[in-house]
């Protein structure tokens, strides 16, 4: 293009129009949006990476780097995660609660989801409302109420590991229901009706058609329940019975209010690994079971399908 035609082709837009055109167009490539997004990702994840880094610090400080060392994991004879029975017990307790939670809450939640999704009677509305409530109740309200119920009404279960498990199941059930129900809605009744047309009894339809279709949602909700239970703090703290009931979040909380050492970072990092492994496994199984389905959004779609 000659300079003359180039000059003649120069558009007559104002600065604001040029800027907004550059920034926001649904088919082009906006600029500040990716910038914000990547900055947000960095802001979101880097602090945690730094905390994990300091779990390998060679001194008692959590803020001044003194070299790489694994003393807080197994080196230090008194305070490392491996040698400090308080830390090890917290780890076991967290895993114990999470396992018990998954084993009970997932079946309970799946049944409840099925029932609520398909029930057409009078009680379904209030039951639905009841199920949604734990999702939005602040944890302190649940913690206080569970604590008072176990110290004044159900006193045969005083604050203890059993109480903690019961509390965890109570708030996990709603998450399971929401996830499974989303899957149920997307499946619809078509497959079961087709099975009935082909001669299946209701029991067979449930067992051979519905449950296999639900497996991805069950797996997703199991992974989520595990993660939620491991990270739970308030309910575990309110139902705690002292040293034998301490979980990793309780330990982290009390150590930041007392005199923290990098072993707090170490045990928190171990928890992160456990959670990511559980979620990764869940995702893997999910992919295996939904091979062949074109599902919008995948497992994230399952979890993001919060039909509140």
């Amino acid at each position: 293009m000659t300079t003359a035609t180039a000059a003649a082709a120069k558009p007559e837009f104002t600065l604001w129009q040029r800027l907004s055109g550059w920034v926001m167009n649904p088919w082009g490539r906006p600029r500040f949006l990716p910038l914000i997004t990547w900055l947000y990702m960095a802001w979101s994840i880097i602090p945690v990476l730094i905390a994990i880094q300091f779990s390998f610090n060679d001194s008692r400080s959590r803020t001044v780097w003194a070299g790489f060392s694994t003393r807080w994991y197994w080196g230090d004879p008194n305070d490392s995660v491996w040698h400090n029975t308080q830390l090890r017990d917290a780890l076991y307790q967290s895993l114990k609660l999470a396992a018990a939670d998954v084993v009970v809450a997932v079946p309970l939640g799946v049944l409840l989801a099925l029932g609520l999704a398909r029930w057409r009677g009078h009680g379904s509305g209030p039951s639905n409302f009841l199920m949604l409530f734990p999702l939005v109740t602040p944890e302190i309200v649940m913690g206080v109420s569970l604590f008072l119920v176990f110290t004044h009404i159900f006193t045969f279960i005083h604050p203890s590991t059993t109480a903690q498990i019961l509390g965890h199941i109570t708030f996990s059930v709603s998450f399971v229901v929401v996830i499974v129900r989303g899957r149920l809605f997307s499946i619809g009744r078509q497959y079961e009706e087709a099975a009935a047309d082909l001669g299946a009894t209701p029991a067979q339809a449930l067992r051979l058609v519905l449950f296999p279709l639900l497996v991805p949602a069950i797996v997703a909700s199991a992974a989520i329940t595990f993660a939620i239970s491991i990270d739970d703090f308030v309910i575990s703290q309110y139902l705690s019975c002292g040293a034998s009931c301490t979980t990793v979040p309780i330990f982290i909380y009390s150590s930041t209010r007392a005199a923290p050492l990098p072993n707090t970072n170490a045990i928190a990092s171990i928890m992160v690994v456990f959670t990511l492994v559980a979620v990764g496994l869940g995702y893997l199984f999910y992919r295996i079971f939904t091979r062949g389905e074109s599902r919008e959004g995948g497992m994230t779609g399952e979890m993001a399908g919060f039909e509140l």
Binding site: M24, I50, R118, G167, L308
Partner: protein, 306 residues
């Protein structure tokens, strides 16, 4: 095809569980709030029969929660923190969700994974990370002093000295709340934005609207329920948050209403006051929740009608 008793029967265990361990505990709170206190050890004595209810503690608590009472500061502070945190979460979260939903293209999966990772990292660990970073010798403090941001913050009265981020500053608590809760907002927002049919936007463009107008008049209204849902999802738990202020600033001057409840239940003098505050907080949140349900109901009716 299925017998009529099947679905209620299948739902029964779950419903019974929730009644036993969710509804009845609420009544326990009410019983304690309207009960009395054993003077020797300051332990609560609940009153189960409504005829035995002692209204003295509840009226004292309501007085203290009203303007001029000793909890009024905590109440206003909590509302202030929640509103500001919510606004910041939306301001940061909406563009991120929008970008991932609409424009990410090839990097969408990677971004989704990065988005979801904070869910799987314990809330307390994320706060711990910031407690370490904002320590006077922590990286964040040093960085902010280096770029002069600390001086600006001191100048604005946000913090008292340029390394004192953990010394009871409201701004630290608000930023910690934003950091902690924003993933719970972005994901529903992303889901809502992802669901918007691209054909609506194309139609709007075909009809001559500019990109900005399309956003304002098409995208934004269609994502309204997502925004509302996300806000409810984080605002309600935020009202009861007490561990965030305790971790990033253990000063009484940044205490939220959750701190007052926690104080009474972890060894404070009158658990009845803690229970009374819990009852009041729950009532307030039920009203909020009710408004949300009504708004959703109305939006669904509109969507069905249109």
């Amino acid at each position: 095809m299925y017998p009529r008793w099947l679905w209620p029967g299948v739902a029964l265990p779950g419903v019974v569980w929730l009644i036993l361990l969710f509804l009845i505990p609420f009544y326990a709170v009410i019983g304690v709030a309207f009960g009395t206190v054993n003077p020797l050890l300051q332990t609560p004595v609940p009153a189960w029969n409504p005829l035995d209810w002692n209204l003295g503690w509840m009226s004292q608590t309501l007085n203290n929660l009203a303007p001029g009472g000793i909890y009024w500061g905590a109440v206003t502070r909590t509302v202030e923190y929640v509103i500001i945190s919510l606004a910041l979460c939306l301001l940061i979260g909406y563009p991120v969700a929008y970008y991932i939903a609409r424009h990410a293209g090839r990097t969408k999966n990677l971004l989704l994974i990065l988005l979801i990772i904070p869910f799987w990292i314990s809330y307390l660990m994320r706060m711990l990370a910031w407690v370490n970073l904002l320590d006077p010798s922590g990286y964040a403090t040093r960085f902010m002093s280096f770029i002069g941001f600390s001086n600006l913050a001191v100048h604005l009265g946000l913090i008292t000295s340029d390394t004192n981020w953990l010394g009871g500053a409201s701004v630290t608590v608000i930023l910690a709340l934003v950091y902690g809760y924003i993933p719970y907002l972005i994901l529903p927002l992303y889901a809502a934005l992802d669901r918007i049919d691209k054909s609506h936007l194309e139609a709007s463009r075909d009809l001559g609207a500019s990109p900005w107008k399309t956003f304002l008049h098409v995208t934004l209204p269609l994502s309204k329920t997502g925004i509302l849902g996300g806000c409810v999802l984080i605002a309600l738990p935020m009202f009861g948050d007490y561990y965030t202020p305790n971790m990033v600033s253990s000063a009484p001057s940044t205490s939220m209403i959750g701190n007052q409840i926690d104080l009474y239940f972890h060894g404070g003098p009158q658990p009845t006051i803690g229970a009374a505050i819990t009852v009041v907080l729950s009532a307030f949140l039920v009203i909020l929740m009710g408004y949300y349900m009504w708004a959703i109901h109305r939006a669904t009716k509109e969507a069905a009608a249109s």
